[in-house]
């Protein structure tokens, strides 16, 4: 059985729990063991790099160091922000021995630079390559839009192997799940990110724009990879529906949930019952 290091990140223990449940479920179905990094700490997310550039590197550094010392050479970080912070730090440390040295002094742990961080899209693609497609027996037949948001499309040295302006990293997985990935205009538009509480108005404006585009494209659901995006599009969609800023409810699914459903797993096991926008109906429509 293949083993992969696993960094859930803080949101996957709370608001993004569906992502954790569905990633673990689909990994299990695909025969991949996810070994959680022991005693991992928060990556710092937006808050650290917003206020202290040393802290912004030191917190991910500790995580990388732990992973390396635990023999985990490849680590999956499903949260797009965690992925961006961890991989970004990994790249910077590789490029600057001075930075590495400084971080070693701050964190008091060694790190040789040998950990590879992958994101949820890369993980799903690798599962497909390893034969997951055979296990996707339930053809869902949905028309969806693939929403990459900011951190699964941009960051030149961080998101590699995909086109930042026309990302396609989710498409193979969506097709393997028997769904159609519709062309649309907001694949990499920002949802408002971390401003959910501190500048809610911006999140409502930006998320509404994404939902409008998804609806205009004729989507049954929006597929995303980031718990921040999911929260903004799902939890905050209630507000938009209440204020009649959007005509109706559009389900927001994690890519791992979509694949989990296609693999015949129960929606509750994947966390679909915890969404704010009812999503379990998507399966009944499937073949």
């Amino acid at each position: 059985m293949k083993t992969l290091g696993y960094f859930p990140g803080c949101s996957l223990e709370g608001g993004g729990i569906e992502l954790d449940l569905s990633v673990r479920a689909i990994a299990k179905a695909a025969g991949v063991e996810l070994r959680e990094i022991e005693d991992w700490n928060c990556c710092g997310a937006s808050a650290a790099h917003s206020l202290n550039h040393s802290l912004a590197v030191a917190l991910p550094y500790r995580v990388l160091s732990l992973a390396e010392s635990q023999g985990l050479s490849e680590v999956l970080a499903p949260c797009a922000a965690c992925f961006s912070r961890l991989k970004g730090t990994q790249v910077r440390l590789t490029r600057s021995p001075e930075l590495s040295q400084r971080m070693q002094e701050v964190v008091q742990r060694p790190y040789q630079g040998g950990v590879r961080i992958i994101n949820i899209n890369e993980f799903m693609a690798s599962l497909l390559e390893a034969g997951l497609a055979q296990k996707l027996t339930r053809r869902l037949g949905l028309k969806v839009v693939a929403y990459y948001g900011c951190l699964l499309s941009r960051g030149q040295d961080i998101v590699t192997g995909d086109d930042a302006e026309d990302p396609k990293g989710m498409e193979a997985a969506i097709r393997a799940a028997g769904c159609e990935a519709l062309p649309w205009n907001s694949a990499n538009e920002c949802c408002g990110g971390g401003f959910s509480m501190s500048k809610t108005g911006a999140v409502l404006d930006l998320s509404q724009a994404v939902l409008d585009e998804a609806r205009a494209a004729g989507a049954d659901a929006v597929v995303t990879g980031c718990p921040m995006c999911h929260s903004n599009l799902d939890m905050r969609q209630l507000e938009l529906v209440k204020r009649r800023r959007v005509p109706g409810a559009l389900p927001i699914l994690y890519l791992s949930e979509l694949l989990g459903l296609a693999a015949g797993l129960e929606p509750v096991a994947l966390g679909l019952d915890r969404h704010f926008i009812e999503s379990r109906g998507l399966v009944r429509g499937g073949v």
Binding site: D163, A164, E165, D166, N185, A216, A217
Partner: protein, 657 residues
Amino acid sequence: MARIGVFICHCGENIGRTVDCAAVSAAAAKMPGVVVGVDYKYMCSDPGQQMIRKAIIEQKLTGVVVGACSPRMHERTFRAAAAEAGLNPYLLEMANLREHCSWVHSNQAEATQKAIDLVRVMVAKVRRDRALRPIRVPVEPTALVVGGGIAGIQAALDIAAGGKKVVLVESGPSIGGHMARLSETFPTLDCSQCILTPRMVEAASHPNITLMTYSEVASVEGFVGNFTVTIRRKARYVDPAKCTGCGDCFNKCPIKKIPNKFDAGLGQRRAIYVPFPQAVPNKPVIDAAHCTMLQKGKCGLCAKVCPRGAIDYQDQDRLEKVKVGAVVLATGFQLWDHAAYGEYGGGRLRDVIDGFAFERLASASGPTGGLIKRPSDGKEPQTVVFLQCCGSRDDKVGKKYCSKICCMYTAKHAMLYRHKVHEGRAVVFYMDVRAAGKGYEEFVRRAIEADGAEYVRGRVSRITRRRDGKLVVRGADTLAGRPVTIEADLVVLADAVVPRPGSEKLAQLFGVGYDQDGFYSEAHPKLRPVETAAAGVFLAGACQAPKDIPETVSQASAAAAKVLGLFAKPELEREPVIARVNRTTCAHCRACISACPYGAAKDFDIVDRAGKILRAVADVNEGLCQGCGTCASVCRSHSVDLDGFTDEQIHAELNAL
């Protein structure tokens, strides 16, 4: 027995203030082989030159050293004076006591000693100088002009007007180039074809000009004054001698929907076609890739309807050799492909077009008869957004340089659109408006003030197509400090100007250099803008760098002037400071042939009287050799030497120090 004369110039105060010229000439007089040592205020003046001439004759000098300014200033002057006195000019050398001595030192004693040393070095050299004769190379007084756009046409007309013959080669079926595609030209808004077509006709009918359209340069041999160029005459499948241009063939051709390159893909042509109605020559060609007769042997309609029997399906490419003395490269430019900008639709949005496409929309003889229409649905756009600098001034995607012409043609496009759609809105997103030519600034102000174009300073971040067909353009107004979103019906991108495909290969055929962007390299960016490193090959137009029509025409006339200068004498005289191979010691290792940057070193067979090859050696083409000395330095057997700078001379100079 050497009898050297040394003449030291004070150059007024330039040398005299720092170097004790009298001391130098006195010291020189005592050097071995020197019989005369004098100094004078201004050696280059008439009396100064007279001194030299007098000394040569009276003292029977065998060589002269003039200690003065840089040879780049007056070597020619002094050598001419020597020649007048009957001394071979290559037996006169200059010691640079100004740029190399008085102008870079301040200590008098040290400068004077250095001047004496410099003179001693040159005396040692002159003693080993040999009399040299200038090399004479015959000149074929025919020019080749590659490229039939306005640059090539102008150059050809000017050379022809100077009484010399021209072969004008154009790869397309007709001459005219991009200028034939334009609607109106800035800053006068002249109808482009109206001012161009008279020249096209003149070029075609001038007795001194031979037009070779639908042809390309295949290979090049030779050197300045004596090029042999092989031209591939592509198969037209139509005999131009029989064809009258009546058009029956293309009116009947059943293959109708081939996107027309002339119209930037907005219009269509047939498999047998003339690229535009005003084509010169007005004779069609068959596009073999799309012709069912040539591909599958079916149809043959054009041959059936042609009243003159001019169609010839058996036609083949032919190679034709021409002998020319000079070449003008005028291959022009094309627009960069904006598909590289994913944020602008990646080339997939039909209503996001480039500048040439807009020209064809605006042109009265274009695919829409001069009406501005959206390519997607044919509707008239009510809001048109123009983006400047698309692919230019960009380190990330596209080119670093400024493409020069786009600010002007965009202002023109905005004006033309506003003239045609009176209630329409024209918005131009710019970074800097570059309008430096005559009447250009006034033209742009007219676009803004008289014709209502809206200029917003800021680049556009993204263009998306909404379901209702509108293009959402997200730009910025940097001066007001805010983002600006425009809902457009049509977007025109001012794509970067880049050289044409195949231009690099052509440059290599002629030995012309090009930069990292593929533009041809001029010999000197300031003072020699139409010459290249290859003697006899000149440049005109946008193939050298982006430029507008007035500059192109000027450059073309300049290139023509250079050609006519070259042709003014039946023979070219070249400096005899060139390499020479000692055939006895040459082992034919070919190191010099590989090393020569000018392709002047070549293989040479030594034959006996019966013509049997005895052995091969290296040899130097006197017409191409530039006297750089690279061959001499790589030759392992010391078989190559440089006349005027022999190994012996250089060693003597070093020893004299």
